[in-house]
Each structure stands twice: as structure tokens, then as C-alpha cells.
């Protein structure tokens, strides 16, 4: 075909990726916005290896080519990821849009990427010469800047399931459907006999990259709810300093205020 490649195996896709200057086309729902890109597309929808979902040692492996609809209907998809995916765009977009494309687009507004950040997920990146596993936090370098080599494809998201059951997820947007996040927040918290066993937060659509600061969240880990109440204001102050919003469609002041309100709601939800 003209200006396109349609591989039907991962090996074939990686060989084409290595030998040609191509733009990976996963679901197309970001790529097709605006003017047509010059050059050729590498269509990935018929690559079966990118559609696999399987559990291995407590890690859920999600094929990068899985569409949002496929994952919403999959029995292994955790509730938190389903909640975030169900609020992406509308059915027609969810039928084509993929998690690999959501990540590969390089935006801090990507609603599935936010969940992968808070879960400290990793990405499997493959080329015809090798495979590497990179934490998602190291994959995003800056706005639209990714640690992806020109011959690589994102093939899997490796999602640890351990701490995903207790969560608060909030997407702030201008409308219910077809909405791009203005601010998105997710907080994970697991209590074990009144002691915080795990706490992780992530803020999307605020800065060039999703904000995930485990060193701040670790202030709360291992402490009882009573102990945490004493350092609550230090925790909030640390995020007040860490959140440096970029100017976008909404002002940075608004973004920052909403982020801190969402963080406060998260603590209140757990009566901390």
C-alpha cells in the first residue's frame, strides 16, 4: 500500500520499524487530529502480540495495542483502570484508541498513563535487536519527549496489581463525555491495622509530565492515622512546593488550587 505498512506479527513490525522512517499508528485517535502527517504509517492493529493480556507473578501484562474498550471488557483489568478508561472520550474513540498510543502520544493529559504512573508500572520496549523494561516515570522526559529509540515500539505495560484496590480517582474536565482532562488526580492508599501500608499519588494534565513524587508520599507510609494527622500540613506543604503547573487552557493558579483541593479530598476520604 502507498505510505503504509500492515504487519501481522511483532517481528515483522519491528523489522519495518528498523528499516523505515515510519510513524507508529496504534488506534489513530490522536494521530489523525489536525493536518495529515507527511510520511508513512506503521499500522499495528493486526499485530497479535500487542493484544495479549496475561498475569505473571502479580504483574498484569497489558499488550500496548489493546483498545480501551477491550480492556474495559477484560476480566483481568483492575477496577481503577476501568474507572479511568470508562471516562476517556466516548465509545467510538474507546473502540480504536489504545493504551500504547495513549502513552506514546507523550501527553501528561493521557488518562490511562496517569494510572500507570501511580501504580509505578513499567513499559516493555522492543526493537528487532532487543528488549528493555523501563519504569514509566523514566520513559517520559518532557512534553512530547519520550525515551523511545527510533527503532523501538512500546509492546507492553507491566502493571503491578498489589496496591490498586484502595483508591480515589478524580478527572476534572469541562464536560462529561469527549472531555480532555484539565486536571486529573489519583491517590492509592492501603491501611493495615490502622497503619498506612502504602500511599501513592499522581497528578495529570498539570505539568509537562505526570507528577508522581514517591519521596513525598513516603512521609505517610508506616505511620498510624493518628501520627499522620500531626504531619498532614507538612505533607500538603511538600506538594504545594512540588506542583509547578504549566500554563495551558486554564491558568496555572487554578490548576494548582484544584490539585491541592483534590489532595485534601483524598486525605479526608481516608479521614487522615
Amino acid at each position: 500500500m502507498v505510505n503504509g505498512f500492515n504487519p501481522n506479527s511483532l517481528r515483522q513490525a519491528l523489522e519495518i520499524r528498523a528499516a523505515n522512517d515510519v510513524i507508529p499508528y496504534a488506534g489513530g485517535t490522536d494521530l489523525m487530529i489536525g493536518e495529515q502527517h507527511p510520511g508513512s504509517y506503521l499500522f499495528l492493529h493486526a499485530v497479535p502480540e500487542l493484544k495479549r493480556v496475561y498475569l505473571e507473578d502479580g504483574i498484569l501484562h497489558l499488550g500496548a495495542g489493546c483498545t480501551f474498550t477491550e480492556l474495559l471488557e477484560h476480566p483481568l483489568t483492575p477496577a481503577l483502570l476501568k474507572e479511568a478508561l470508562s471516562q476517556i472520550a466516548a465509545p467510538a474513540i474507546r473502540n480504536e484508541g489504545t493504551i500504547g498510543g495513549n502513552i506514546g502520544n507523550g501527553s501528561a493529559k493521557a488518562d490511562s498513563a496517569l494510572i500507570f504512573f501511580v501504580a509505578d508500572a513499567s513499559l516493555k520496549l522492543e526493537s528487532s535487536t532487543g528488549t528493555r523494561i523501563l519504569p514509566i516515570r523514566d520513559f517520559y522526559i518532557g512534553r512530547k519527549q519520550l525515551a523511545l529509540h527510533p527503532d523501538e515500539l512500546i509492546t507492553e505495560v507491566l502493571l503491578p496489581l498489589r496496591w490498586l484496590d484502595g483508591y480515589v480517582y478524580q478527572k476534572v474536565a469541562a464536560r462529561k463525555a469527549l472531555a480532555i482532562s484539565r486536571i486529573s488526580f489519583v491517590g492509592l492508599l492501603t491501611l493495615d491495622n490502622g497503619v498506612i501500608a502504602h500511599c501513592a499519588t499522581a497528578f495529570g494534565a498539570v505539568s509537562d509530565v505526570v507528577i508522581r513524587r514517591p519521596e513525598i508520599d513516603s512521609m505517610l507510609i508506616g505511620k498510624s492515622v493518628e501520627q499522620v494527622k500531626a504531619i498532614r500540613s507538612d505533607y500538603l506543604a511538600a506538594y504545594d512546593k512540588a506542583i509547578v503547573p504549566t500554563r495551558g487552557r486554564v491558568s496555572s493558579e487554578y490548576r494548582k488550587a484544584v490539585c491541592l483541593n483534590l489532595l485534601l479530598d483524598f486525605l479526608n476520604h481516608y479521614e487522615i
Binding site: 502507498v2 505510505n3 503504509g4 489523525m32 487530529i33 502527517h37 467510538a92 473502540n95
Partner: protein, 158 residues
């Protein structure tokens, strides 16, 4: 490298020899004269260009032709020949769920996608199912009523 992109279009085998990066929407309208597929926004925001791709609702403005190779595409022109369409058509007409009509082809195909998945949907399921299809004149209540009525009157079709 130069062979065309072959696909099923409303049940017929067709071939497209242009660029794989071109939008399905433009090819349907410009090459195949299927002008029931409306162009509202070209960014997946309005649903006017909705078609069925292998039975699933997609925005044809967000689909490049290379994606379509070997697939089956149904537009409102093809769908209008079915008994399911007749049921939806009667239901939309009965409650005046059409005014200017620009959103209607996409809305009908979104209705089909809802009923194919859930033959007797709740109001909430209907509203979620048409959430990517914008209507600027009738409003959504009449459309929701029409889909509920099609599910009832067309019982057994889905």
C-alpha cells in the same frame, strides 16, 4: 508496494489506491460519494462521521485508510437497507428525534451499536452509547426515547 487497499464497503468488495494515511471519512465522501457520512469536526469530537468498522462504532475522521485493509465498513447508506434501520427510522420519526438531520446518520449508527451490544438498554446505557454524538437542535431526550422505542418495537431484531 503499490497494490490497493481492499475492503468491504456496505457489503461490496472495493479497492482504494491512494495513500494509506488518508482519512476514511474523506475517501468515503470524495471517492465513493457516500455523503451520508458527515464531516463535523475532523477531530473526533462530534460523531457526525460515525461508521461501523467490523461492527464497531468508529469516527471515520480518526481512521486512516491503512487501518481499513481487509475490514468491513458500513455507512448509513448500507445500513439503511436493513430491517434494523427500518425499526430505528420509524422510532426516530414517531417522536421527532430529527430536526436538521446533520447528526442523524451518526446517531442512527450509534443507536445500532448500542442495541447490537445490549438489545434492551437502560437509559443510562443509551446516554453513554450516544455520548460521542453531538446534536445541536433536537436535543437528546427525543433521541433517547426513540432508541428505547426501537428496542421495544423492534424486539427480536437485535
Amino acid at each position: 508496494m503499490d497494490q490497493g487497499i481492499e475492503f468491504q464497503l456496505n457489503g461490496e468488495r472495493v479497492s482504494y489506491t491512494g495513500s494509506a494515511t488518508t482519512r476514511l471519512l474523506d475517501v468515503l465522501r470524495d471517492n465513493f460519494a457516500l455523503t451520508g457520512v458527515k464531516c463535523g469536526c475532523k477531530e473526533g469530537e462530534c460523531g457526525a462521521c460515525s461508521v461501523l468498522l467490523d461492527g464497531k462504532l468508529v469516527n471515520s475522521c480518526m481512521v486512516a485508510m491503512g487501518r481499513v485493509a481487509g475490514a468491513s465498513i458500513v455507512t448509513i447508506e448500507g445500513y439503511s437497507k436493513t430491517a434494523r434501520f427500518a425499526a430505528l427510522n420509524a422510532a426516530y420519526a414517531a417522536v421527532s428525534a430529527v430536526q436538521c438531520g446533520f447528526c442523524t446518520p451518526g446517531m442512527i449508527l450509534a443507536s445500532e451499536a448500542i442495541l447490537a451490544k445490549t438489545p434492551h438498554p437502560t437509559e443510562e446505557e443509551i446516554r453513554a452509547g450516544i455520548s460521542g454524538n453531538l446534536c445541536r437542535c433536537t436535543g437528546y431526550n427525543a433521541i433517547v426515547t426513540a432508541i428505547q422505542s426501537a428496542a421495544k418495537e423492534g424486539n427480536g431484531l437485535w
